[in-house]
């Protein structure tokens, strides 16, 4: 009796590697061969662009403002620069010293916290020209500010006692000093103004931001504002190295037909060596009311809905069809399967998001700006500007993070309907409800929930020396762009980690 020899079956296919790249390739093939999923990606782009275009072409006002073009600062940004200016020529190095008393605001009321009164050395009386100034403010003590955006804090001031200020020029360096009595001086800080001509104007100024009134309750918000006013008295004014007589001007005033400043209360008077200045304009960077770039990208908040559905299905469909068994047989290291899925999804969502954000910005942004009452008061942003680039790339990053988040929730819940509903409600419902929440509660929601990621679409710069009203309904986020998107990414990564852990622990 002979025993037949049995040759064990060997697959004729050559053995292949099972590394991570192969896993990525497998997931990429799964993603691109389901036609509905490609359609969902297309829908993400189309919905994002469509909502952005709708919001751009439906908005705007028919009433065009008649404000003259705003001044542009040394850095090329739009600024506010209008104040009464009592000045004389200062050639070369020198200094200006004065004793300043803040007298208050409109009709005896206290001045705004950021009202300013002090001494300034400015390139010329042209609005927007370079300057350095030492000043007292009612709410923020002594400050050294220059070229609109730079600000250094000094000591505190008492409201009812006059305060001494001195500003010295030495070449390109400007140093501010303060003193309570005029004999002991403390240095506030030093700032450099490159390229200031040898002959500049040294003098006195007062300025104030406008009054803002916010009424916000139960979902209805009204923001009102009007020009504020500030008056200050200056005595013991000396200019070292100066020459000639004092000249009185109003910088940035609209000049009427007879050469008088039109409609501005800004004025300066002198009586026995004491100058009294009243101002209603501000010397500060200009902050537009609306973030046009952010608004042009707002469609992503709706466009993410089909992306969420796709990302959830990318894992739950495997469970539904039983495909997960094949997937896990082919690659028994389960954490890596989910990681490969996340990488493929994030990459695809990033590309789709980038296309959507680019199209949205290019189509909507010029239109939104044109439709503003005073378009010139909004910076003309180009794609290559830092904040715009951050917002556009950030939007793509945001969609990638949302995709990973949805994938993780899908893997955790293993239920399509529950996962899609949960993620969509968490991301979209706040848009509807935030305006009704008290501002503190709304800010906490915007800080801590995945919604924080949308902060990356903000492009307006924030300055510590400019008070702005941050309203959720106007798209203002309490945190910076990068910390916002980090919060969303943290949510996505933590949930993905949790999902990997659950996938390993549980039967498929």
């Amino acid at each position: 009796m002979t025993t037949p020899t049995v040759t064990p079956y060997r697959s004729p296919l050559p053995p292949a590697r099972d590394g991570f790249p192969q896993l990525l390739r497998a997931e990429w093939i799964k993603l691109r061969t389901v036609r509905r999923w490609s359609l969902a990606l297309l829908a993400t782009v189309l919905v994002t662009v469509a909502v952005s275009v709708l919001s751009a072409f439906s908005g705007g006002s028919d009433v065009k403002g008649d404000r003259p073009p705003p001044p542009v600062g040394p850095a090329g940004a739009i600024v506010s620069d209008s104040f009464p200016f009592v000045h004389q020529k200062l050639t070369g190095d020198g200094s200006i010293t004065a004793r300043v008393s803040l007298l208050g605001g409109r009709e005896g009321r206290p001045a705004e916290a950021w009202a300013k009164a002090g001494v300034v050395i400015k390139e010329s009386t042209k609005p927007g020209s370079s300057y350095a100034a030492a000043m007292v403010t009612p709410g923020h003590g002594v400050r050294l500010q220059s070229d609109f955006t730079r600000d250094t804090a000094g000591g505190a001031v008492s409201r009812d006692r006059p305060h001494w200020l001195r500003l010295t020029r030495s070449g390109d360096e400007f140093t501010a000093y303060e003193s309570a009595d005029g004999s002991t001086w403390t240095k506030v800080g030093t700032t450099r103004l490159a390229g200031l001509p040898d002959t500049a104007q040294a003098g006195l100024f007062v300025a104030t931001p406008g009054e803002t009134m916010v009424q916000r309750q139960f979902g209805s918000t009204s923001v009102g504002g009007r020009p504020a006013r500030v008056t200050a008295a200056f005595d013991r004014v000396t200019v070292d190295g100066g020459g000639g007589t004092w000249r009185q001007d109003v910088v940035g005033a609209v000049v009427g037909a007879n050469g008088d400043p039109k409609g501005t209360p800004d004025s300066s008077t002198e009586k026995s060596g004491t100058w009294t200045l009243t101002g209603s304009g501000d010397v500060a960077p200009h902050t537009p009311e609306v973030d046009i770039t952010q608004q042009s990208l707002s469609g992503a908040q709706i466009g993410l809905i089909p992306l969420v559905a796709l990302s959830v299905l990318f894992i739950t469909a495997e469970y539904r069809r039983g495909m997960i068994l094949t997937t896990l047989t082919a690659s028994p290291r389960r954490g890596r399967v989910l990681a490969a899925k996340a990488v493929v999804l994030a990459g695809v969502a990033f590309v789709a998001g980038l296309v959507a954000a680019l199209l949205s910005f290019l189509v909507s942004e010029p239109e939104l700006r044109d439709r503003m009452p005073n378009p010139l008061f909004y910076p003309d942003m180009a794609l290559t500007d830092g904040p715009v680039l951050r917002a556009v790339v950030g939007t793509a990053l945001l969609l990638a993070a949302v995709a990973v988040l949805a994938l993780a929730v899908g893997a955790l819940l293993r239920n399509t309907a529950a996962a899609v509903t949960l993620v969509v409600v968490v991301l979209v419902l706040p848009l509807v409800l935030l305006s009704g929440l008290p501002i503190g509660a709304a800010h906490w929601v915007m800080r801590l929930t995945p919604l924080a990621g949308f902060a990356v679409q903000r492009t307006l710069p924030e300055y510590e020396h400019v008070d702005t009203v941050c309203l959720p309904e106007e798209g203002c986020y309490p945190q910076g762009p990068w910390s916002g998107i980090s919060m969303l990414c943290a949510w996505a990564l933590v949930l993905l980690g949790l999902a990997m852990w659950r996938l390993r622990r549980r039967d498929a």
Binding site: V51, G59, G60, Q217, Q295, L431, V432, L433, G436, P438
Partner: protein, 258 residues
């Protein structure tokens, strides 16, 4: 018809997700309502009596969460059958497809109305406990007040109509993800788009015709003049949406292979 109803009820009640969803409807609605009433204060008003807050509407804010669970319930009642293939057995047992859809609509509507009633009563009760602590009067939250009764009944009906709309969409689309995404888009994306649109006329138009914003007009008890659409007409708009969804679903259901 009675047999079909019985069959649908058996299917619905023996799926565990149904009970979780019905619980979610009540729990989420009451939780969000309580959170909303907990955050208001009379600080912004000159005196508590001068606060023109619509406390009834505020106490029913939770519907914004509850409706998601109702939508999932309506969608799953139909799409679940396609996902598992039960639809073949169902249509073999009851070949008249309109009858199947009608029976499904009846049981889904019934359970949504029951869960909705619990949710609305719970929300109003929570409001009655919480609002006096914030300086508001609890008096308007009594169901004996005409407008409050309208808001309460209207909200319960809103839950029912959302369930029917979801069922209709699911019959049209057949697959869970597509149907739930469509319904959530209608319920949440449209009101969110309103916030993004600048033009006042367009906003009004979307508010008048979007299912959620029109339907929820029924919750208002104050400042009825400033509503985009009158309370009952708004609910009628939602009913039209639900009817259209069901009709389209029924038409496709009868004409198409399962």
């Amino acid at each position: 018809m009675r047999g079909a109803l019985h069959a649908e009820w058996t299917k619905l009640r023996t799926v565990p997700s149904t009970w979780w969803l019905l619980l979610a409807v009540a729990a989420l609605t009451v939780a969000l309502s309580a959170a909303a009433t907990g955050t208001v204060s009379t600080d912004q008003c000159p005196s508590p009596d001068a606060c023109h807050e619509d406390t009834v509407k505020l106490s029913l804010t939770g519907i914004w969460l509850g409706q998601a669970a109702v939508a999932a319930l309506g969608v799953l009642a139909m799409s679940g059958e396609y996902g598992t293939g039960t639809i073949h057995a169902t249509l073999t047992a009851v070949p008249r497809r309109v009858r199947v859809l009608a029976a499904k609509a009846a049981v889904v509507l019934g359970s949504a109305l029951v869960a909705g009633t619990v949710a609305v009563l719970g929300s109003l009760l929570a409001g009655r406990f919480i609002l006096p602590g914030n300086g508001f009067s609890a008096a308007p939250l009594s169901l004996t007040e005409g407008p409050t009764l309208r808001a309460a009944v209207g909200t319960v009906l809103y839950f029912g109509l959302i369930a029917l709309l979801s069922l209709g969409v699911a019959t049209l689309v057949r697959d869970t993800a597509g149907a739930i995404t469509t319904v959530l888009g209608l319920l949440y994306a449209l009101p969110a788009v309103v916030e993004l649109v600048g033009n006042e006329e367009w906003r009004e138009r979307i508010r008048e015709w979007a299912p959620a914003s029109a339907g929820l007009a029924v919750q208002a008890t104050k400042n009825l003049d400033s509503l985009p659409i009158a309370p009952w007409s708004g609910l009628a708009v939602l009913a039209a949406w639900a009817g259209a969804g069901l009709l389209a679903g029924a038409a496709v259901f009868t004409l198409r292979d399962a």
